[in-house]
């Protein structure tokens, strides 16, 4: 079997972990692939750099907010020195850059499997409101605000607690007017207008992870419920579920959007309805859960990127349990020194 060189970002396996390590572990476990994993890191302290049984080499990248030209040049350098074939970006902030640069990457023989720009924009919270009803899902009462006056009026109607959200990124749970004003200010400063104010709905936090084939179909999907979350709201234990309404809505989402690539649907389920909270255009940090439950979605995505035959089933059992845990390694300074001085290991 020919070696495949795959670069994966998000190898920051910290308290708010990126998906990279789960993606790499999945790729390494697929019997149909022989993967050399390249970690794309933004800091020499990202733990993935030191997990040498998973990440074969690591490279420090310029921030995605830097010049696109510099970012792509770094990827082309990595291609020159490693023979890179496929890139799996896993961080929100990278997606716009990779989507815009997809053609240039493809022209250099670097494969990706990403949503189009139009699909990416579907996730905007404004567009989600329209999309949800087409999928048979609900949206918590939401108001779009562009001033403090709008914000106060919206909070009068929606009440507390409420979520104050940016159009694409950031969400703060607020309990008072001053908290809401602080959140509004932070979002406007970082992401600009408009800001959304959304009612907090009580229910079960359920998610679907999957890969869209780009033609309205699925390359596999799996639903879970978060059983235990950290103080940062990150999953620590979870269980697979078979919620047909949720899975049907996900299939409709793929049909209507012709979504290509990884996605995560974040929802709140109550007895009566399912609320759509967010659509993430990437794998979640708990992606290895799907692999462990029998659906190796990262391997399917890489095969799809290469145009290889891909399994499309979504066969998994309800009741598979996911448990995250912490681990320690001790190593010498060599790798750290190399990463700091050379920008690569």
């Amino acid at each position: 079997m020919e070696e495949l060189v795959v670069a994966v970002s998000g190898i920051n396996a910290v308290d708010n972990p990126g998906p990279g390590i789960g993606v790499i572990r999945s790729l390494k476990e697929d019997p149909g692939l022989r993967v050399k994993a390249i970690g794309l890191a933004y800091d020499a302290m990202e733990p993935g750099i030191y997990l040498d049984w998973l990440v074969d080499r690591s490279f420090i990248m310029p921030y995605p907010s830097s010049e696109e030209e510099d970012y792509l040049a770094r990827l082309f350098y990595i291609q020159d020195v490693t023979g890179l074939n496929v890139i799996v970006p896993t961080l929100d902030a990278e997606l716009p850059l990779f989507i815009k640069g997809a053609e240039e990457l493809a022209a250099r023989g670097l494969k990706t499997f990403l949503p189009t720009w139009e699909q990416f924009e579907l996730r905007s919270k404004q567009r989600l409101i329209e999309l949800a009803s087409e999928l048979g899902l609900s949206i918590p009462p939401t108001e779009i605000v562009s001033s403090y006056q709008d914000l106060w009026r919206a909070l009068d109607r929606i009440g507390f607690p409420a979520m104050v959200k940016g159009l694409f990124y950031k969400a703060y749970r607020v309990h008072t007017y001053p908290e809401a004003e602080g959140a509004f200010h932070k979002i406007v400063e970082e992401w600009g207008y408009p800001v959304l104010v959304q009612k907090v709905v009580q229910g079960e936090e359920v998610n679907v992870v999957g890969v869209g084939d780009g033609e309205g179909g699925s390359l596999g999907m799996m639903a879970i419920k978060k059983l235990w979350i950290t103080s940062l709201g990150k999953i620590w234990t979870g269980v697979t579920i078979k919620n047909e309404a949720l899975l049907e809505a996900t299939s409709k989402f793929l049909e209507k959007s012709s979504w290509r690539g990884a996605f995560e649907l974040e929802c709140i389920a109550t007895e009566e309805r399912i609320y759509l909270i967010e659509i993430n255009p990437r794998f979640p940090a708990w992606i290895y859960f799907a692999t462990g439950a029998g659906l190796n979605l990262p391997a399917r995505l890489v095969k799809a990127a290469l145009g290889l035959p891909v399994k499309r089933d979504s066969s998994y059992e309800a009741g598979r349990l996911y448990i995250r845990y912490t681990y320690d390694i001790v190593t010498d300074m060599e790798t750290f020194q190399h990463v700091v001085t050379r920008g690569e290991s």
Partner: protein
């Protein structure tokens, strides 16, 4: 009434898993027996009668326990 109960995975130790919601519950030996009767489609009246024969319990206590248990199933939206 039966739809939700039918989907539950129940083991012999009284662990109950709902594959749609991901919720899990535990119950004791009597609760487990009542659940199995409900899953078989029996009515509360019939279960109550069988309960007094099967367990060492007077009819009043059995009725109260059965009513409480069914109330709990409703609270947890299992009925």
């Amino acid at each position: 009434m039966m739809n939700k109960l039918a989907r539950l995975a129940i083991n012999d130790e009284g662990f109950i898993f709902d594959p749609v919601t991901g919720n899990s519950f535990t119950t004791n030996r009597v609760g487990l027996w009542i659940l199995k009767q409900l899953k078989e489609g029996k009515e509360p009246m019939q279960i109550w009668q069988e309960m007094t024969a099967r367990f060492e319990v007077d009819p009043e206590t059995a009725e109260r326990d059965l009513t409480d248990f069914i109330g709990q199933l409703r609270t947890y939206k299992l009925l």
